[in-house]
Amino acid sequence: MHADLDEIRDSFGFFDAWEERYRFIIDLGKSLPSLPEADRTEDRLVRGCQSLVWLVPSFDAGARTLRLDIDSDAHIVRGLIAIVLAAYNDRTPEQILAFDMEGLFADLDLLAHLSSTRGNGLRAMVARIRQEAEERLAA
């Protein structure tokens, strides 16, 4: 089950205290499906993240959509992954490349609440997904 982007936007609109935002992010992370241990391999690690992030992409040739399974060993990162996936998962490469992820982060006021190292990790994950989308377009 993937979180719905509109619901995420709505929920963030209601938060005042940092506690509420973080509880929500952590709970999103808890609802994110885990990758099987066998898929958590070295070659699937996303570089640039402080905690471990594994990304397994697959392409549905019929629907022309990208399926992304992403996991991390940290709860907060899993929550951020859930937000990114709400925007990206099961979309076409064109949709992924057209999506304004920085705009979403700004709307949710996410990066301001993340340390710069974690913000960079988040950007590294986004860059990795965009690269995947570009490769599908070129293929």
Partner: protein, 412 residues
Amino acid sequence: MNRPSSTTAAVADIARLRADFPLIQGRDDVVYLDNAATTQKPRAVLDAVRAYYETTNANVHRGVHQLSDAATDAFEGARARVARRINAAAPSEIVWTRGTTEAINLVARSYGGSVLRPGDRVLVTELEHHSNIVPWQMACERAGATLAAAAVTPEGALDLDDFEAQLGRGDVRIAAFGHVSNALGTVHPVADLVALARAAGATTLVDGAQAMAHYPVDVRALDCDFYAFSGHKMYAPTGIGVLYGREALLEAMPPWQGGGEMIEEVTIEATTYAGLPFRFEAGTPNIAGAIGLAAAIDYLEALDPRAVGGHEGELLHRATAGLQQVEGVRIVGTAPDKGPLVSFLMDGAHPHDLGTLLDRQGIAVRTGHHCAMPLMQRLGIPGTVRASFALYNSTADVERLVAGVQKARSFL
């Protein structure tokens, strides 16, 4: 150890020392528990640096003019101050560096480069900071030597049997180990380690980065050949550090960087090098940093080391006891002798989760592998959360840490 002198004022009330640190005073929104990464600076250090620039600034060792003389006096006075603090035989045994990392690189490059032969080994420990691993790997690679690491016990102490066994092979040329572990806080029995290494014919380097703020260090009592440390971890500015080296060894070592300040005479064909310690100090040094470091030493020495040690020990004790009360928290590193830092994990939480939730509560800790990835691999953990204390931390800081961890637990 060093010299409890009559000028040492006993500090009855450590709490009033907080007022000496402008950042600690000015930022009461932050509980600063990342002192092993870098400490805050007392006003005395900030004033010394400022006064130097406002009254004495000139380049050292080269001018005929009065300002340059005054700057040189202050700079060389700082060197002598460091020499006295660690009981070096002479100021010429004190080489200025940018920090611990550069000091170890200097030894690995210059000394390692001239003595290591194929088949030799350099012995470190599994507890080392990357700064005390990577320079040796590079030196070993250049020389065809091998790097070995003495094992750590599950409690986070050095396995002395393994250390001795490694030395017993008779091929260890250099043994390099930390004084206090930055990742777990373990205090190593350095004098014993040095004695064992020397008996096995090895030259010794001690990484003192985490020791200098907390203990009086006497390099001659330790009997080590080299001792490296950073100013910024002992209340002094960043960008200044020290390599202590035994004169006979430094004397025989080739320079490692070329440039001004380190020469006697230069022709296009050849250069004769300056004497100690200038041969290892190419280029204009960090004059203000050296003066700031001397001021930090003055500051530390005006305090009663037993009062400071007792206070920091109390912080460690309370933090350890408090964290152990939180369900699911496990202390990593339970050696009997520890410096004032505590590393810990919480069941089901990544160190970064905990670190982030503490940060949101204004508590500054370090999370991750603490530049000791081999140690984390050995302990089979991704990293830890580390709270490290300095003399200006209070028991209230410890209470906020424990309460913060408790609150974080409710999120996870």
